[in-house]
Amino acid sequence: MRITLTVNGTRHRLDVEPRRTLADALREDLGLTGTHLGCEHGVCGACTVLVDAEPARACLMFAVQADGSTVRTVEGLAAPDGTLDPLQEAFSTCHGLQCGACTPGMLMTATHLLEVEPAPDRERIRAEMAGHICRCTGYMGIVDAVESAARAVRAPS
């Protein structure tokens, strides 16, 4: 089935099988392997992307359902010259990742959180990030990173 997706500002025309998930279309058809797949049934959060500005599990949505949508993935966060965005920078600084399997989804959920709530407290950050499983960090660095990025975005140096 022929569909159109706008991913990180670029329009793509694709021909996909109906059972192709949005995650697989991004990874396999568009080569955007930044979106990671963990459990492939909606539990781990690694594949979270923004579809029409709302976070969604890319493994629980078929690409045909996203026809005509605007999708943002982790590849869209850094500047074209490779400069990390404040959340990416903070994840690095605060040791919010080790292996990086869960990080793309974490970053997209945190991006959405800071867009709708520029100053979340730690409890809010914990509640929002609870939809993501990380087996490396113990989560403290992740919460620190989102908190620190929120401060950086509010008061750019």
Partner: protein, 291 residues
């Protein structure tokens, strides 16, 4: 795992969706938010021939309060339910469903049609004595909450019927309490308490194949606080009654005894919340966020 192959039909309206289901001859499924269906497909627990996508059907995502009832289209997402203030009970309950990325896709109609006995919205529908509207080849019909839930993951909907809308009466006072091992999980036990005038309905989720109405329809008078304030003694007696009334089974999430104890405690919390309703202004403090 990857989903098994299926053919995909993007429905243009309700009649088109019904026709596509009828054509599939029992091998079709409605695809709405997909937050329960797609995992089932990915785990290969179901292999429908046809998925009928209703996400672009116009008019199914309306939300309006009229004469004490919230009328919601089947496609209203959990995020929209959580954000509206016309029916604070369903707003609070929707906040307990999954996570933001689940709530942004999952739908009211999908949750009710999926009929998970531990899910929040089926318990709310039953506590509010709500009803759903269903379209099929022979026309439309209205199914009340007591008739909708037949068993665990089984609703009264036929293979060629589509749930299109939901009526949720708005209670005068309410309480909601849930225990899950982690935030976003299905409840081990949840309790919804709703008072309409001097009638009290207490529904327990997670203890039977369907949301359990304490006392059943006939015994509601026994729960009636007589219109007066619900004091701590009455709350305790009702919690005892709820714990006696349920007959849970043991599974890996908890033993029958543990679920009975949780039923007691969640009922106590929900009714304590409900009893405070008189002291609070509309929806204020007791909308406790799940963490």
């Amino acid at each position: 795992m990857k989903c098994p192959p299926f053919s995909y039909h993007r429905a243009t309206d309700v009649a088109d969706a019904v026709a596509a289901l009828a054509d599939a001859d029992g091998e079709g499924k409605i695809l709405a938010g997909g937050q329960s269906l797609v995992p089932v497909l990915a785990l290969r627990r179901a292999r429908p021939d046809v998925l009928v996508d209703v996400n672009r059907v116009p008019g199914l995502a309306d939300l309006a309060g009229r004469e004490g009832v919230l009328h919601a289209g089947a496609l209203v997402r959990h995020t929209a339910l959580a954000a509206q203030d016309g029916h604070p009970l369903v707003a609070a309950a929707a906040g307990w469903i999954g996570h933001t990325a689940i709530r942004s896709r999952g739908t009211l109609g999908g949750s009710l049609a999926h009929a998970d006995p531990a899910a929040e919205l089926p318990a709310v529908l039953r506590a509010c004595a709500g009803a759903v509207h269903v379209a099929g080849p022979g026309g439309t019909r209205r199914v009340d909450a007591d008739g909708l839930f037949v068993g665990a993951l089984q609703s009264d909907l036929a293979d060629d019927e589509v749930l299109t809308g939901v009526e949720l009466p708005i209670p005068d006072a309410w309480g909601f309490a849930e225990f899950a091992r982690r935030h976003g999980d299905f409840a081990v036990v949840s309790v919804v308490a709703a008072r309409f005038g001097d009638r009290l309905r207490v529904v327990v989720g997670g203890v039977a194949g369907t949301p359990h109405l304490v006392g059943g329809e006939e015994a509601l008078d026994a729960l009636d606080p007589g219109g007066g304030p619900l004091g701590p003694d009455h709350v305790d007696r009702l919690a005892d009654a709820a714990a006696d009334d349920v007959d849970p089974v043991s599974d890996l999430h908890g033993s029958a005894g543990y679920r009975r104890a949780l039923t007691h405690e969640m009922t106590r919390r929900a009714l304590t919340d409900l009893a405070r309703a008189g002291d609070r202004s509309a929806t204020s403090s007791h909308r406790r966020e799940p963490v």
